[in-house]
Each structure stands twice: as structure tokens, then as C-alpha cells.
Subunit: 239 residues, 2 copies
DNA sequence: CTGGTAAGAAGTGCATGCACTTCGTGCGGA
DNA sequence: TCCGCACGAAGTGCATGCACTTCTTACCAG
């Protein structure tokens, strides 16, 4: 049913975003084809698409490498994400149905539950990232704008590529959860100004946590290790 | 020297952006391959890249069509371009050398000359668009940011795709020329705040001219016809 | 021992062939 | 006359083969 080319694209994208394929790694067509159980042709097409998406770098006759994102700084990405996702939130508030609002709330509550488990243990960071991404994806799809989706997808790629997911201290985490819930309220109230404003706060808060965040601060919630990226961060492209 | 795949990509992109391939048009691999004098393989790869760039739409077993951009509104694009290109201007002001400044000025003067020819005749709109694009491309390349380039490229695509280049009245045209010259001054002064501010004004002015512009206003400078898009608008991708 | 070079290996770029899906067309039945 | 269906054409998806480029390595000159 699904095409080999799409399978290759998804698999490679997931591996790159998860960090299994580190920046600078050489991606040979023959090896990938053998690994994925298909011929070189669909692998080639997937690599071209990844190159257009900015995830790999292509040199003629010299193959593909995972892109080295160090040149870009996180601040740039967040400066661009604020108006983009703010606009998405605005559009979502205007177009969301009641069912959409309920679905959004479900995802926001899932993030909250993962951030503060019932047992009182440590947050399940993988679940937080997963549901956070689902939340933002739904928000974006509610905006129903192709160029908005295109732009935001690229920016999120960048955010994930330079995996600065070192630390999200408790305060930032709870602010994030509160923002999600407030966004749901704004969308359900069909208030675009409110929604946009909260979304911008949400992103600036995240930027502060990631940029200013001294990862070794007390109470810092860190990943198991620096090279361990967020799991399951690759679902729902909402193309 | 140049690869067939790249030639196909460039040719198709140019044809789409120029409007030779109108939205909704079916792009068959065999026809394009014959037309371009190559086999289907590089054409297929070019189509995948165009799909990733958001210029064509791909359906499994059903071929490629030029994307229908009507869903997105121009306002969205400009709201996103303002911070993005503003940031690019800011970075350019910080990193530009004296030679860069001179090159920028050369392009700005070229736009000015095309907008107000020496003989006093009507503006050479094709030259205006070409040099305008060169100016913005150079600005972007001076910012040296991959994600910035990625985002702006997508937004410019959208702007051109929905070809609202109907009218740019005299006032707007001269404002645009003045903005370019002021941008050069800001960059040469290495003043990021100034550069960003002027760039934002530049874009908002353009938005007003395009959105609010009643194309049938007196003194309006229109293209020869509605389906005639800007020529030579496709150079210098600054990938 | 070091630097340059040429032959081989490895890998990419493109063309071509085949299987399968989709669409158009004509036929038969109600 | 109109609807359903099957058959054929056209086109896409993928595999494979060949030419050419790039990288590696072993060899020889100095």
C-alpha cells in the first residue's frame, strides 16, 4: 500500500531527527537500500526530498551527508517560530470546531499527565515530547495553511536537529503545561488575539528555558545523556 | 558539467514561477523527459524536490500537478516575511564587509535606474523585479543562516505563485527604491536595528501596495496582462 | 622514510525494462 | 437511452545495468 519511496523518506527522517544518524554521517545509497530492503531508486528519491527539506546535504557524485546545523542559532529559529505559530494559533482559534477543541484539550491533558505523573515520580520526558508535538501539529493543521505548515515544519526540523533539549527545569515545564491548557481555552473561546498571544508566550518561554537554561542548575530535569534525543519526535508531519 | 537532475529542477521551477506551467497543470514524466532531452529518472527526482519545496503536488500513481496556492492568503506570507527578512537584514548589517556594501549599493541603484529610466519612459518592470530579487538574495546570503534561507525561499515561492503582481503604483515604487537605498546605508553603517526596521517597512509597504492596491487606480503601473508574471524572477536561489 | 601517482574499488548519475495502477473507451444488458 | 463492466492505452513505481566520477591504496621515485 505505502510506497517504498515514502517508507524510505519517513525512515530516514525519523533516524535523522532522533539522532540515530548524526550530523556529518555519510548516507550511502547502496547501504541504505540494503538496510531498507529496496532498490537504490526509491532511496535516491527520498534523499532528494530530504535535501529539499534541509535535512541532508547533497554533493554531486559525492553522496549525501546529514546536515551540520551548528551554523544556525536557536534564537533565529524561535524568532521565526513566534509569529508563524502565533499566526497558526490565531487561525486555529477562528476555524476550530467543538470537536477540535476537545481533541486539543485531550492532548494538552496528556502533556500535563506526562509532565506530572500520578504516582508523583519524575516526568516521562518522551511522552511529554510526543504529546507536545501532537498538540502543536493539531494546532497547525487547524490553521489549514500550506505555506504556514511548510515554514513551521522547516523550523521545527531545525529546532530538533540542533538537539538542545538538555534541560527544562520544573518551572519551565509547568509553565509549558499551563500554556497548553490556556491555548485550549483560547481556541474554544474562538479568541484569535488571546490564542496568538499565549502561543507567543509559550515559545518565548521555551526559548528562555533552552537558551538561558544552565543545564546543570538544581532541579534541572535532564535527559539520560547528552546524545540522547527526544524519542518519537517524528510523527505527524501534517503536510 | 551540470547534472541533468539539477537542470530539470531549475527548468521546471522557472516554468512554474514564471507561470508557464499554470496551477493545476498535469506534469507527466514522459512528456517532460522528452521535452528536456533526458530520461525519466532525473525528471522524477526533480519532481520530488519540487514537491518538497511545495511547488507541485504528488499523488501516488497519479503523477504531479502544479500546486493550487489559492488557499493561502498573501497576508500570511507577509506577516511571516517581515520577521524573517528583518532578521536577515539584521544579520547582514552585522556581517557585511565593505565590498558587500558596495555590491548591495550597485544592486539598489540598478533597481532605481530600472524604476525611473534615464529617458523618462515607463519603468522596466522586468528589470525591477530581477534586480529586486538579486538585492534580497544578496541580503539573505549575507545573513549566512540555512534555516533563514530555507524559510524565506518557501515564502517567496508562495508570494510569486499567487501572482498578485498586478499593480505597484508610482508612490509604492519610489518608496521601494528609497527603502533599498536606505537599507544599503544601514548595512554600511553596520546598524542592525536600523536595517531590520527599514526592511520591515519595506515589506509592509509592499503588502499594502499589493493587498490594498486597487489595481485600476490612476497612475497605476500594471503588467501587460493579468496572466503575465514577472520575468526572470527565478534566479539565485541562495540555497 | 616521504611524496607523488596510477590502478583498482566503491559509489553516484542516468537510461531502460517490467509490473502494476489509473484512466479512457467501447460493448452488452436492463 | 442509460448504466455497469471489461478491455486497452497510458503512465507511474521500482529494479537493474552501464558509464563516469571520486576515493583508496599500493607502488615507485627521490
Amino acid at each position: 500500500m505505502t510506497m517504498s519511496s515514502d517508507r524510505a523518506f519517513e525512515a530516514l527522517r525519523a533516524d535523522i531527527l532522533r539522532g540515530r544518524h548524526r550530523p556529518g554521517l555519510r548516507l550511502g545509497e547502496v547501504g541504505l537500500a540494503r538496510e531498507l530492503g529496496m532498490s537504490r531508486t526509491p532511496v535516491r528519491e527520498a534523499l532528494r526530498r530530504l535535501a529539499a527539506a534541509g535535512l541532508v546535504e547533497l554533493n554531486a557524485n559525492r553522496g549525501a551527508r546529514v546536515v551540520e546545523p551548528a551554523a544556525d542559532d536557536l534564537n533565529t529559529v524561535f524568532v521565526l517560530r513566534a509569529p508563524a505559530e502565533g499566526l497558526a494559533a490565531r487561525a486555529a482559534a477562528l476555524s476550530a470546531t467543538d470537536e477540535d477543541g476537545e481533541e486539543l484539550q485531550r492532548l494538552a491533558l496528556a502533556v500535563a499527565a506526562a509532565a506530572r505523573p500520578a504516582g508523583g515520580g519524575p516526568p516521562d520526558l518522551d511522552a511529554v515530547y510526543l504529546h507536545n508535538r501532537e498538540f502543536h501539529d493539531l494546532m497547525l493543521s487547524l490553521a489549514r495553511s500550506a505555506s504556514l505548515a511548510q515554514v513551521i515544519a522547516g523550523l521545527v526540523h531545525s529546532t530538533v536537529l540542533m538537539r538542545t533539549y538538555r534541560a527544562f527545569d520544573e518551572d519551565a515545564m509547568h509553565r509549558s503545561v499551563a500554556h497548553h491548557l490556556e491555548l485550549v481555552a483560547a481556541v474554544r473561546a474562538h479568541d484569535p488575539d488571546w490564542a496568538e498571544s499565549v502561543m507567543r508566550s509559550h515559545l518565548f518561554s521555551a526559548r528562555a528555558a533552552l537558551l538561558g537554561g544552565r543545564g546543570d542548575a538544581p532541579h534541572a530535569i535532564t535527559h539520560t545523556g547528552p546524545p540522547a534525543p527526544a524519542e518519537d519526535l517524528t510523527e505527524g508531519e501534517t503536510a
